[in-house]
Subunit: 373 residues, 2 copies
């Protein structure tokens, strides 16, 4: 018996967009969903209550970071990540694979796993499929991700082919090592670079394992957006309709909409909180940099159409002041707004899918946000 | 008609401690009170709701900082500091004098005022008694402080004497320039260094102006604690009983208790929030540095006797992790705790004064917190 259940509620007729519901041991997640990132057992600058109030039902935690600090054994002894960080909603953790490749100083990639040095203290570490499962089970996430190799954009075909085969072998080891099947669901990850035939190959291999969900990895790794969307468009169809589909690391408004149009159910990205800390906001009138001098005496809300705590209580002039003065509250207030902005974008998209107006919603948003070409 | 009213409710019989109530245009403040510092229109790392929940009824804003950034005219146009920062409790602002002397690069002190260079952009600035009143009236504080010269510890007697006379002349200019007497109360500041006769001289001069409250300035400027307490002990008696007495910049638990024992009603200090950002907490079992390795797997609350949000929801192990990982939430959670700790210390003190057990309360706290000698 799987600990999560995915229900498809509605489908858009003009696009591949779908409206669903993911029932987890820590509550129901309406999909398509954007998951705020809580890398180090905290969504940066926010209390769990803030994240709840924003409307988030699921957050993402990073295995790589939590493995290195404070260590998964500590989190396990604390009663798991939910209890440790005081978050009672759902949690998905990544496998650590992506961060090993992007943050760690890699010594060696072998069939066994990846040897690397910690970005924190330089210590030698080893991540394997089994280790990733051990860590994620210790963290106690509701959804755990398979340990995979994320191939950089531009890698040659033979490398990508060998790598995706290894990722499949790693996935089988993950499945074997994942002991707590009743408590958390293991998602497989499709690789295959930008080559459609390799994407199909990868998909066929992982779908055979009949996992409760699948992710499309190895996109948004430096390729042009058009390339990514073309690959995504075809790759999605290699995955089973009845399982949730997760596009990792995507969170710009346009890519969320394009992803949804192609049938993606789940997204995550550090973008909204990272941008917030630099004073950059997403608003219904388009991007806003609150550092801009024109906001010095602009006492209106950041986004007139937004219902978030920040927009209800503070002015652009105040936010500008906080960011210029490097006050922590600036990061908090802008993070609240940016996350709420994306959560509202998804709320609107879900309604639009239900009423079969998703394409209109998508085009309307893109025109307003980015301006007509 | 003064905008604030001070009522004395009870007095301790063994010490000079007093229990009072300060009624301001933004609510009632129970005294003795510790005022959290919101230097740049924010109590660092906290939302106003956090400050409220902690039990704070009044906060302090810094004229020097707000004058330089975002500028008092901006705050005024925003509707005043209360509205700008979304705080509906009482606000006291300092005069900018102390910060000019401690942060600014001083060019010249003259009878007119102080010329200095901004610590932000090096621009040439001038603060005078009239300017300080203009700024504080623009900010819209409930209590505003006179512009004074804070003399460093060790200055010779003739300098201190001349300086306190100038501070009195500046106070008279403040009183003349403070136009909005119906909206905010001007407090005078006693100077006089460590010399009791000069303290008396200063007090006599400022008390004559019949202001709604008085502050004792020029203490906690580098002198030994014993010297400070001796001066404080005598200086307090030079001030009228029926007016509130404010000891500026004091906030360590021992000095709060010693100050209360000598009849001080109001305190402020950046200590609790600054210490918090460095991982240092005040607890009922004494000081705690959460970075300490022994807290790695300590899943108990920071302070078993504390009722704050942090102690209700998080463990020492989690707080340690946040501080070590330099997560903003660590500063937020420890600031909440440290401020609540001092607010509770004051709550306990107020009860003890009412029940005439203040000395017992004070000694009990000092023995527990600092350990018996």
């Amino acid at each position: 018996m799987q600990p999560i259940r995915f229900e498809l509620i509605a489908r858009d007729s003009k696009t591949k967009a779908r409206r669903g519901r993911l029932i987890t041991p820590h509550g129901t997640v309406e999909t398509p969903v954007f998951m705020p990132v809580g890398t180090q057992a905290t969504v940066k600058a926010l209390k769990p209550e803030d994240v709840k109030e924003i409307g988030a039902q699921i957050i993402l935690g990073n295995t790589y970071h939590l493995f290195l600090r404070p260590g998964h054994e500590i989190v396990k002894r604390a009663g798991g990540l939910h209890k440790f960080m005081n978050w009672d909603g759902a949690i998905l953790t990544d496998s650590g694979g992506f961060q090993v490749f992007s943050l760690g100083d890699i010594n060696k990639i072998t069939e066994n796993g990846v040897e690397f040095r910690s970005h924190i203290d330089g210590s030698k570490q080893l991540l394997t499929p089994e280790k990733s499962m051990e860590i994620q089970n210790a963290l106690g996430s509701d959804i755990i991700m398979a340990f995979d190799e994320c191939v950089p954009y531009g890698a040659d075909r033979s490398y990508v082919e060998k790598s995706l085969a290894m990722t499949t072998r790693w996935l089988k080891r993950c499945k074997a090592a994942h002991t707590e099947n009743d408590k958390r669901a293991l998602f497989g990850i499709m690789q295959g670079g930008m080559d459609i035939s390799l994407r199909r190959e990868s998909a066929n291999q992982i779908v055979e394992l009949d996992l409760p969900g699948y992710s499309i990895g190895g996109l948004s790794v430096g390729e042009p957006k058009e390339v990514m969307l073309d690959v995504l468009d075809e790759a999605v169809d290699f995955l089973p309709t009845e399982k949730p589909r997760y596009l990792m690391g995507v969170g710009s408004p346009d890519m969320l909409l394009e992803g949804m149009a192609r049938g993606i159910d789940m997204f995550d990205c550090v973008l909204p909180t990272r941008e917030a800390r630099h004073g950059r906001a997403m608003t219904s009138a388009g991007p806003v940099n609150v550092r801009n001098a024109k906001y010095t005496d602009d006492f209106s809300a950041l986004d007139a159409e937004c219902d978030c705590y920040t927009c209800r209580n503070y002015s652009k002039a105040y936010l500008r002041h906080l960011i210029k003065a490097e006050e922590i509250l600036g990061a908090t207030l802008l993070s609240i707004h940016n996350l709420r902005f994306l959560v509202r974008l998804m709320e609107g998209a879900r309604q639009a899918i239900e009423s079969e107006t998703f394409e209109h919603y998508k085009n309307g948003f893109l025109n307003t946000y980015y301006g007509k070409p």
